[in-house]
Symmetry: C2
Subunit: 197 residues, 2 copies
Amino acid sequence: MSKGEQTRAAILAAALDMARQLGLEGLTIGTLAERLGLSKSGVFAHFGSKEELQLAVLREAQERFVAAVLRPALAEPRGLARLRALFERWLAWSANLPEPGGCLMMAAAYEFDDRPGPVRDALAEGQRAWRASLTRTIRLAIDSGELRPDTDAEQFAFELFGVALAAHHDTRLLGEARAREHALRALERLIADARAT
Amino acid sequence: MSKGEQTRAAILAAALDMARQLGLEGLTIGTLAERLGLSKSGVFAHFGSKEELQLAVLREAQERFVAAVLRPALAEPRGLARLRALFERWLAWSANLPEPGGCLMMAAAYEFDDRPGPVRDALAEGQRAWRASLTRTIRLAIDSGELRPDTDAEQFAFELFGVALAAHHDTRLLGEARAREHALRALERLIADARAT
DNA sequence: GAATTTAACGAACGGTCGCTCTATTTTTAA
DNA sequence: TTAAAAATAGAGCGACCGTTCGTTAAATTC
């Protein structure tokens, strides 16, 4: 890895940290440079514009999410085992994010939901991909016979997504300790209702 | 209503509109003044600080939410009728927000979830109150005998909250047309599972 | 080790930020 | 109608924004 690539990676890591606290818009090049002991223009040169920096940070967050949540769960056997592993890793990701700061993608979803542009596009694309992965995981549990064939995988994924959002919300804003328990019970209810009899 | 109160109300309405698009932090006094045809200092004088403006905007949003969602639903008879009315009004609120801009409180929840201060406090307090109203509505459906006595009202409220979050997310970021349908189905599943047999 | 590409700096740009202060106008009350 | 009070304007503060530019220092290649 060349010197430039090293620096870029270091900037990206720090920027991700900042953006998790302050949002992708609240992220500023000056503060970022100061935190890294670099000059503003030095940081700037690596990305060319703030929007490119935001895009890079978002992609970094998305990759980390996939690496921490989706990829390891794929090691589990298809079916409910994988679905449960996926969801538990998801909850762990959301609960174990380094303080301070929450999940960048969830925050960005609200920050950019009505700000057209490449950032919003990348964000929406990532969300769609994640939802598709969720749906696929559920569908595999149907195929394996653990869930009834008439189960609506998209509806299931929608509800599961909501459970994760609520857990994140309760934990971070309300400091609600039972959020994880609530979320796991919600998953089990989803499974129970769709379970093959 | 005195002249000052009139102006203040006009500022608040415009500020709420701006904050729904740009977030409470993205809201700026200069742009707000320009939009209203007032001077920056004229707008500023009504609130004394940006934080006070943010607080006032947040309270305004909370009051409007209560007036549009909770209060009318209280006219329905206690039980499932009121619960369904409440949820449907909630979905309508979220779907019919004037474009552009989403729900200020949901956005602020992510913007301020790790920014201690009065804004965060007011936000969390409002969320707790809303959750309590939800829980109470569910509990009344238990008391009326429509839901089983062993129903966990807090778990129910948690899941219902997640459904609303997911619906808002799918509608606004992904432009998913079936979000309302998904949400209503999720509510019916919640009810069916808790229904007295 | 020299040549050349790459990385980073530092100063400066026009703009906007929240905010302060002083004036002036407008509204309200006596 | 006049005096007090409230509301708004306007200029300006220091700080920071993203960005540009020319230059220097460092890393890489030959």
